[in-house]
Amino acid sequence: MLKQFHQLVSPKYFYNLAVLLTPWFAWLTILLMIAGLYGGLVFAPADYQQGESFRIIYVHVPSAWMSLFIYVVMAVAGGVGLIWHIKIADVVAKSCAPIGASFTFLALATGSLWGKPMWGTWWVWDARLTSELILLFLYLGYMALQSAFDDRRVAARASAILALVGLVNIPIIHYSVEWWSTLHQGATVSKMDAPSIHIDMLIPLLIMALAFKAYFVTIVLLRSRTEILEYECNSSWVSKLLNKVESRT
């Protein structure tokens, strides 16, 4: 068990695993995406209150969920790297940031696009919206800090600290709708016992959420591969690998 773990966290093994897994996740993403889009745009009935505009839910909510989820992944990976000096964890954490930022941006943008027809305004300064904006800053700060250091190891450690400290914001964003009276929708889907949403609407949403997750894994694997190569550029297995690639081309 321990041996397997060590193998897994060895950069070389992880690299090969990532190379193996990337296409699988890519295909999974595409399949789920097609299913989700069909379900969301065609199959699901229009909402009796919001009409067709509610279909934005199928991009907005998964993006919003991912923006929170990825941050947690990033912080945990950073913490693992910080404590146990596991390179793979550093690499994964670093790879998460741009995707997380993208999803945060998407949540903001699609939320805005949804808000205009629903609330009559693109933007209100309420708790959830503002805290999501701040989450975007958090991602940007993380990336800026990563790039401010010349040394990879130093950058990884410094930004891991930041990510961990920023973790307090996640529950705040999540619960903001309950703590403040806001325009934003309360928990409708994620209520554990009985989601207050029609099952025909729910299923495509869950499929879309899975599609986004698969997408996230794909991109993280892809970016991690690059990062690992840079991280390990002095080791023999990387030069061997590069030789192989070179002789092939």
Binding site: A127, S131, I134, L135, F137, L138, L140, G141, A144, L145, A148, F149, D151, V154, R157, A158, I161, L162, L164, V165, G166, V168, N169, I172, W179, W180
Partner: protein, 225 residues
């Protein structure tokens, strides 16, 4: 143990003395505060009702800005004149020394800030229960600002793009404290109990008192290398 305490005390006192020498640092957040408050009625007109509604928020934002701005210098001079090197190389855990520095920072900015803020709030005739909530939130919140801010400062000290990065990093970290403090004050104004918010702030305080000096020391060490 006593020698640990002694090291803490010396660094703490050193920073206090330094600030009192350069009275700049000592008084800056205060003057800053006073400035804001004096300019306040000019900026918002003298409608007493409006002023009352804005006061607590204004005080908290100012406290936040004052804290983050004065924090920026907390390690800068140490870094520039080589004192940080010597602290890293001292015979004591860096965490301890960093904790002393943060404590000094709070005593120099947070504490006087609370006093002035209360005075201001009183002058602007904030209702008593709001006054009380404001005091409690400031008392619990400002140390957290110093503690969390110190981590961000340590991460960015001496970096090329330090200041900008610092603000970018510090802002999201300060957000929860501001949010809960303002909630508490609002609840107090509406005569709703605000225990939950105070518990949250206390939790943050305990957490950051125990963890922030470690994180700061660690960050500083990272920055030195």
């Amino acid at each position: 143990m006593t020698s640990y305490w002694n090291a803490f005390r010396v660094i703490f006192l050193r920073d206090i003395i330094l600030a009192s020498r350069y009275r700049a640092e000592l008084a800056n957040p205060l003057i800053f505060f006073i400035m804001v408050i004096v300019l306040f009625p000019f900026a918002f007109g003298s409608d007493p009702d409006l002023l009352r509604r804005v006061t607590a928020g204004m005080i908290w934002i100012t406290a936040l800005l004052a804290s983050s701005l004065s924090l920026e210098g907390i390690f800068r001079s140490d870094y520039a004149d080589g004192s940080a090197e010597q602290m890293v190389l001292s015979g004591y855990p860096l965490t301890l020394l960093v904790a002393a520095k943060i404590a000094a920072h709070w005593c120099l900015t947070g504490l006087p800030l609370i006093i002035i803020a209360m005075l201001t709030a009183y002058l602007l005739s904030l209702p008593t229960q709001a006054l009380q909530a404001l005091f409690l939130t400031l008392f619990l919140g400002t140390p957290v600002l110093s503690l969390i801010g110190a981590i961000a400062v340590a991460l960015t000290v001496g970096l090329r793009s330090g200041g900008m990065l610092l603000s970018l990093i510090i802002l999201p970290l300060y957000m929860p404290i501001l949010i809960f403090s303002m909630l508490a004050v609002e609840n107090a104004m509406a005569d709703i109990p605000f225990d939950a918010e105070l518990y949250f702030l206390s939790g943050m305080l305990v957490l950051s008192v125990t963890l922030a000096p470690i994180a700061t020391a660690y960050s500083l060490r990272i920055r030195m290398s």
